[in-house]
């Protein structure tokens, strides 16, 4: 399994302008009781690794944030919502809640340029680079979980163009403005595509195993699934726990661990081709947390206070990437070609 390190000039303000972000958090407080109050049964097993959740890590550790309670799996260290929610309510939250409307009008509109340049375009060029290793016919069919679109399973869209990835790339990188050569429609139940993509969409599912089996069902043999995910085993999430900026309910109902997600992908029938953590923001977020008076471990506190020159911070972030310890994960899964095996 390969991994990469990538250095991009992403800053916290590029994805999370503070005033607007706080506005979003305020609206979440209003919305969550409406969409996430109705709870299903409590989880008995970890949705990532399937181990019993009575084995918590450390025993009894759980925390509640925005009215949603999380536990950390004692087997795989994933952080997962303790209770199940009603799927139609989750979908309603993403399609009609004030929070999401605010997100689209205030945050997306202010950050789309930076997001496109610093997140989506690098994502697409990564995918384009990786495609060199595979023999796909000229006309690829691609589906995407559009990150700025509402909905869950319905959010997976299929792009049909004179289809190549470049046409698709332009549609990813321009968000909703699709070129004329590209038609897009909701993927149908039995439709299969060569490539699935998701930028930061997976964490919205409360049942990641279901999301991955859905993905493998909708891929042709030999197909690829490119996605990003927030991880529980990034330094930011490990250090800050409940205070982590990455633990953001209900946008993220589960944060898989590096190891747990690999096991989950294998269980779903995927081969993990690449799993990198090319995040850029762990150090910045830890510094931010320190300024806000959140609790950090003595080691990190010492580092932030005494090794604060730019090169040290860069080296720190680079080391996190090399050790797959950033909270931002980038994954390529391959559905094995039945013909070959």
């Amino acid at each position: 399994m390969e991994f990469s390190t990538v250095f991009l000039d992403v800053q916290e303000k590029d994805v999370r302008p503070m005033d607007e972000y706080n506005g979003y958090l305020d609206r979440l407080k209003q919305d969550i009781p409406n969409y996430y109050a109705e709870k299903g049964e409590s989880r008995m097993t970890c949705p990532v690794c399937n181990a019993s959740l009575s084995n918590m890590h450390p025993p009894g550790e759980e925390f509640t944030k925005n009215l949603i309670t999380y536990v950390k799996c004692g087997s795989c260290s994933s952080v997962v919502a303790k209770e199940k929610f009603v799927l139609s309510n989750i979908q309603a939250f993403f399609t009609e809640s004030e929070s999401r409307k605010y997100w689209m009008t205030e945050i997306w509109s202010k950050t789309s340029e930076a997001r496109i340049e610093k997140i989506y375009q690098p994502f697409v060029s990564w995918a384009q680079g990786r495609l060199l290793d595979y023999d796909f016919a000229e006309a690829l069919s691609v589906a995407e979980f559009l990150p700025n679109q509402p909905g869950l399973l319905e959010g997976w869209k299929r792009v049909r163009s004179k289809d190549n990835l470049s046409a698709f790339a332009s549609c990813v990188t321009t968000g909703t403005n699709l070129g004329e050569s590209v038609t897009i429609h909701s993927i149908e139940t039995n439709e299969k595509v060569d490539i699935l993509m998701s930028v930061d969409g997976l964490n919205r599912f409360e049942d990641p195993a279901r999301a991955l089996s859905w993905a493998i069902e909708h891929l042709n043999p030999g197909g690829l699934f490119f996605f990003t995910t927030t991880l529980s085993t990034g330094i930011e999430t490990l250090e800050l726990g409940a205070d982590s900026y990455n633990v953001l309910p209900p946008d993220r109902l589960f944060l898989p661990s590096y190891e747990g997600l690999q096991a989950l992908a294998a269980r779903a029938g995927f081969e993990v081709v690449e799993f990198s953590t090319p995040g850029m923001l762990d150090a910045a977020l830890l510094r931010h947390a320190e300024k806000e008076g959140r609790k950090l471990s003595p080691t990190i506190q010492y580092f932030l206070n005494n090794r604060s020159v730019e090169n040290d911070v860069k080296e720190f972030q680079s080391t996190l990437q090399k050790l797959r310890l950033s909270a931002f994960g980038r994954v390529l899964l391959h559905k094995k070609d039945c013909k070959k095996t």
């Binding site: 990469s4 390190t5 990538v6 991009l8 990564w126």
Partner: protein, 343 residues
């Protein structure tokens, strides 16, 4: 039906070939011939012989010639003439003449397949770099620079590799030739060659360091430092292109001593000339699986089993790499004579 194989020579390479054959359904190792009883004692599960003439038997389809350099041309040619397909390790003999002789025999035996063990081409870093180059996403290759070397070691002095009558050349022929093959893999063939060599440390009368500078008709330049005095195992190839650069650093090997294999992809970054950023952000890919042996042997099996022409690691590739080595030796010996005269 798998390819029924004989392995001639059970040293470092013979062991690798047998291991790969056992992992693959495409090969059936029938026989291993090895003169050294100690090495033979390590073998089981396959017929073992000390008689190299056994490789010409009728039940053998293909011969893997894994001998020291001095034996490669003779066995390769005789095996081809005996109707065997041949996979020969690099270098293809001790001299430029050796590979030319092999090619002459190959031309007489055009229904047999002949391939050489330039496995570095099939390393994951090189394969990815090649795809990026062929796709032209970073433009045309302008230049290539390679460093390849090792530390010698306790048994280095007694190795056949350092006996001129057996090996025919020093570190350039033994290890540097892989890098020259990679230069030819990434660029158009190189025809102009300048070189300096020395044997200042090991004094085997074979070069322990070679500096080779190359040029081809397309104006691409290349430079190699091949060394047996790096005092660490080191592999690095830098490829400069119009829109960026690629570096393969480290090299997946059995011992892991060349470090983790990585491909660095850098993209040129400047909007205008006053705003050139001399340190662009790089993507670094870390590889962990070396499939090079498997890939090259499967290619060979595919040619044999499906009667396809050999297109990778061909005798022409071997000839091109040997031509550079030959020209480098000629150029450096001329200079040595010149400087000796001046003294």
């Amino acid at each position: 039906m798998p390819v029924k194989c004989a392995i001639l020579g059970f040293g470092y390479m013979g062991e690798i070939r047998l291991r790969e054959m056992r992992e693959s359904e495409l090969f059936e190792p029938v026989l291993v011939c090895e003169p050294d009883p100690e090495k033979r004692a390590k073998l089981s599960g396959v017929e073992i012989s000390d008689d190299p003439e056994q490789i010409f038997r009728n039940d053998i389809d293909a011969v893997f010639v894994c001998t020291p350099n001095d034996k490669i041309p003779d066995f390769t040619c005789r095996a081809l003439k005996a109707g065997k397909h041949v996979f020969a390790e690099k270098p293809p003999g001790r001299s430029y003449q050796d590979i030319k002789d092999i090619i002459a025999v190959e031309e007489e035996c055009s229904d047999r397949k002949l391939m050489f063990g330039f496995n570095h081409r099939y390393h994951p870093g090189m394969q990815r770099a090649k795809k990026i180059i062929d796709k032209k996403s970073l433009g045309r290759v302008l230049w290539v620079r390679g460093l390849y070397g090792k530390s010698g070691g306790k048994n280095f002095a007694s190795s056949w590799r350092n006996k001129k009558e057996v090996s025919g050349g020093g570190i350039l022929l033994d290890q540097g030739i892989h890098m020259l093959d990679l230069f030819n893999f990434f660029c158009e063939p190189f025809n102009e060659v300048k070189a300096f060599t020395s044997d200042a440390y090991w004094q085997f009368e074979l070069e322990d360091n070679a500096f080779v500078i190359l040029k081809n008709p397309e104006g691409q330049n290349a430079m190699l430092h091949s060394s047996a005095t790096f005092w660490k195992h080191r592999f690095q190839i830098d490829i400069g292109l119009e829109e960026g650069y690629l570096t393969v650093q480290g090299f997946l090997s059995k011992s892991g001593s060349y470090g983790r294999e990585t491909l660095i992809i850098g993209r040129k970054q400047f909007e205008d000339e006053t705003d050139a950023i001399g340190n662009p952000s790089e993507e670094i890919i870390y590889f962990d699986k070396d499939l090079s042996w498997q890939i090259e042997m499967e290619k060979f099996a595919d040619c044999v089993l499906n009667d396809r022409p050999v297109t990778d690691s061909t005798s022409a590739h071997a000839l091109a790499a040997m031509e550079i080595v030959h020209k480098a030796y000629v150029d450096s010996s001329t200079k040595n004579i010149d400087s000796a005269r001046q003294n």
